[in-house]
């Protein structure tokens, strides 16, 4: 018979505490863990500020407003907004100086670069889905013939803008700088390309602004920018010098 002297109270308490403090992962985290085959990667994915509810709501609102404006004015706003929205998300995805626990994460078995990549892809995918949903709202407008082109046309520029934003965020160790630079770069591309493609004397329908996402001549430069920025991220996330 077990007497009180035989009971390891510390062990009992630890078991009780483990049950009381146990965190129950949500459905999204459980699904991500199955898909990624790594509970650690799933948890790391969901800790990114980019995927937190306020950011998601803000992105949805921005693209919804863009979609409504497109319906009213026949402006290609959804396609033009999507890369900028994604850029902001990517800037807040991950990186040294952005993630306070970066150094600790670097010493863990789950690769820090894999975490970075997974988070970036997640932000990119969420933005693409939001953009697709927003584009669906614009069906039936005068821009309908261009809808498919616009929907898929933003993917390449979005890749380039996101890569640029992530590279700057990581290099300058500031999500704000990365987001600002990404959005600014995208606006420059949109307006510069729009000005170049607008025929003199024609009414401003906004269609020329869409050149940034419809012009096939830009596809190669977009890919080149994305590749260069990926190299910058790789270089900027190399091991850094200690403090002593």
């Amino acid at each position: 018979m077990t007497t009180p002297d035989d009971v390891d109270l510390d062990r009992v308490w630890t078991n009780v505490a483990a049950e009381v403090w146990r965190r129950h992962p949500g459905r999204l985290e459980r699904t991500a863990a199955k898909l990624l085959r790594s509970p650690g990667l799933a948890r790391a994915l969901l800790t990114t500020p980019s995927l937190l509810l306020p950011w998601l709501i803000a992105s949805t609102l921005v693209l919804a407003v863009g979609a409504l404006a497109q319906v009213g004015a026949n402006q290609p706003l959804v396609g033009l907004l999507a890369p900028a929205v994604a850029a902001v998300g990517i800037a807040y995805a991950y990186g040294p100086g952005i993630d306070p626990a970066w150094e600790l994460a670097c010493s863990c078995a789950v690769s820090d670069r894999l975490v970075l990549l997974t988070r970036s892809v997640a932000v990119f995918a969420v933005n693409a889905m939001l953009g697709l949903a927003a584009t669906a709202v614009t069906l039936g407008t005068r821009a309908e013939t261009h809808t498919a082109q616009l929907t898929f046309g933003w993917l390449l520029p979005m890749t380039a803008v996101c890569a640029l934003t992530l590279a700057i965020a990581v290099a300058f160790r500031s999500a704000v700088v990365g987001a600002g630079a990404g959005v600014a770069a995208w606006l420059i591309v949109v307006f510069a390309r729009g000005t170049f493609s607008a025929a003199p004397g024609t009414p401003d329908t906004g269609a020329h602004l869409a050149a940034a996402i419809t012009d096939p001549n830009l596809y190669l430069p977009y890919l080149a920018v994305a590749a260069c920025c990926a190299a910058v991220v790789y270089y900027a996330t190399r091991p850094q010098r200690g403090t002593q």
Binding site: E19, G40, L104, S107, Q240, R241, Q244
Partner: protein, 250 residues
Amino acid sequence: MNIELSDITRRFGRNVAVDGVTLDVGTGVLGLLGPNGAGKTSLLRMLATILPPSSGHLTLLGRDPRKPADRREIRRRLGYLPQNLGYYPSFTVVEFVEYFALLKEMPPHLVPKAVAAAIEKVDLGPKARAKLRTLSGGMLRRVGIAQAIVNEPELLLFDEPTAGLDPEQRVAFRALIRDLGQTATVIVSTHLVEDVGAACSEVALMSNGKVVFRGTPEELTARGEAGQGVGDAPLERGYSAILAAARSAS
């Protein structure tokens, strides 16, 4: 040996942070002493597989950290507390420790008990569900210690672990690392000589990137009595005597 360093050097441009260090460390607690800029943190970061050496050979837990598969296995069996602990303010203590248990690829079914045990070991049970933003500096340090020990590592690296701890907690921490040192290799980088005297079975003293002394705390004390060291405590005198000798030699 859990740690085997052979002529390890780490350069940052023209600056040599770690200069040809050769060191073998087995089970027990090794105190790493040295002034600011001696190369302690760079050495610890190389042992934590965060920083690759510029030259030399490094073996940790019998594996080569240059190989990705070996590095991953080392990291599973590693605990590391950096000098500046970054944290997520909105996380609770449990969430933070659990997060790193998962990143260390602990089997998920073992995580809750391991997290509870680690939090209890650092005496943070009453604060287990508190947000990190509400904790004091000393409590955050203990959270950092908890995440380092959660996976029952075979190699533990602590960079200034007692910074911010009150005297009572420092005594408790020394007891904890003495206990951990029974089965693991524990390296404690510190400025506090009394921590070394109370908790470490061995001492290595670094100066200008080199290890200038390796021995027991008693041997360090003896150097102070024989040399021209200054300080209030015998260990401090030994520390300063060796540093003075190293500086005059270079």
